[in-house]
Amino acid sequence: MHCQICKKNQATIHLTEITDGIRTEMHLCETCAQENGIAAKSQLSVNELLNNLLATQPTDEDLFGSAEQAISCPQCGFTLEQFTKEAVLGCPHDYEVFEKSLLPLIEKAHNGRTTHCGKVPSKTSTDAKKQIELLTLQQKLDTAVKNEDYELAAELRDKINQME
């Protein structure tokens, strides 16, 4: 994502302002942020990322995480409260149990990306491999639509329909 002011640099500072119930977002690069008097901290740790994220959740909406706040993982007993303290999860199953709450954090930590498209263990069952391929194609389709590359999008959509 590019900086909204200079339109050249990558935006690394994302500001959210809620005034009179209206939410505005600004995405700036560090230089423009500094020039506009916005102090920025570099390299947020997971803890800080987490706190920022939890702080900007509107409290009167149905917090997508509210259901997840109350539960603990059936496999390891982990809770979201523990995550906010330790910044690490309890077991692999937590990614499923707390998916809704973790997704915004994952998105932020990985520059908006949320789907794996790298190496896959060779022992993955053919079903899981197919799943991965479908997810990757879906991601490419979303990007193509965003970039208004409708020809590519149509191609990808056809591929997806073929696979399913």
Partner: protein, 375 residues
Amino acid sequence: MKLTEISHNINEWFNGSGPLADIVISSRIRLARNIAGHKFLSRCSAAEKLQILNKLRDVLKSLEFGDQITYISVDKAPALDKHFLVERHLISRHHAFAKGPRGVVFARREFFTAMINEEDHLRMQVLKGGCQLSQCAEQINRIDDMVEEKIDYAFSPRYGYLTACPTNLGTGIRVSVMLHLPALKMTGQIEKFLRATRDMGLAVRGLFGEGSEAAGDFYQLSNQVTLGISEADIVAQFEKSIIPEIVEYENAARNQLLSKQSDVLDDKISRAMALLRNAHLISSQEALFLLSHLRMGINMHTHMGVSTPAIERLCKLGAEDAPAKQDKISISTINRLFMLTQPAHLQLNHGKNLDPEQRDILRAKIIRSALHQDK
């Protein structure tokens, strides 16, 4: 294998060899993995941690690395040994001082090291000298495949390799290079460099990774995003755009020093030489700082083919009374001095514990001797 079998020498990825080694000291690729069917470490009992430790240790020791493999039980190791392993970049500081059953498996030539039960069950890495990220990637990938034949990794089609911390999700890969940027520092451009790397989405750390400061003009640069991008793409980004750009900046700064500030440069190098060849007490911090200037001088001579009066004197050190080429000062000498005069190295090699002042005396003696001042 005893640690003293390797403590008297430098490891091969730090001996000054490899492409672009005057600026890119070394390359490192690390993979984070967890075994399926186990909890992440924060929720494991000591018994479960031990189970994981034994399993992974046995798997790693059974693999063919083409080199002698050693296992060290980090929780049982004496403090000095742990400090040594950190100085050697075989384990992280976190791993040294954490609690619970944990270990490290590494190759004797130190190109491969794997921490068991650090933040994830398994964190393994390959290190090479100079800019060799593709080669590191190829090797670590092969090792990963070999490990995966024997155990099942925690993996989800959507999120990739599952890690204890979401910031390592997906590929679980950390691609890093250790850079030496004395000229950018000297010409006051290091802040610009740090800002540029942040804008590129990279993490910059000091010599010993997370929580360390940039001493000796060393900077560790690594990727932050691990999800939604392939391993090959991350490596390609580093090799094709990030590293060439940084090398260009540092070279430009070196040229600037040589053409417009050669007196300042000569002064820094001369003072470093004078202090290192004469001081009776020297701290590791100070030694690191001064050796950085010498490293820059020698690299300018070797890689840029330029000389200033001070650089000439530096490179001639040892030539008079030791005409054999290997006694003349080189990058390997400087790196050796840096590595071997670190606190744990000094004590391990000396055979006993030393207090700070004794270390400062011994360090100064080793340095004076290596720089041909006295024997």
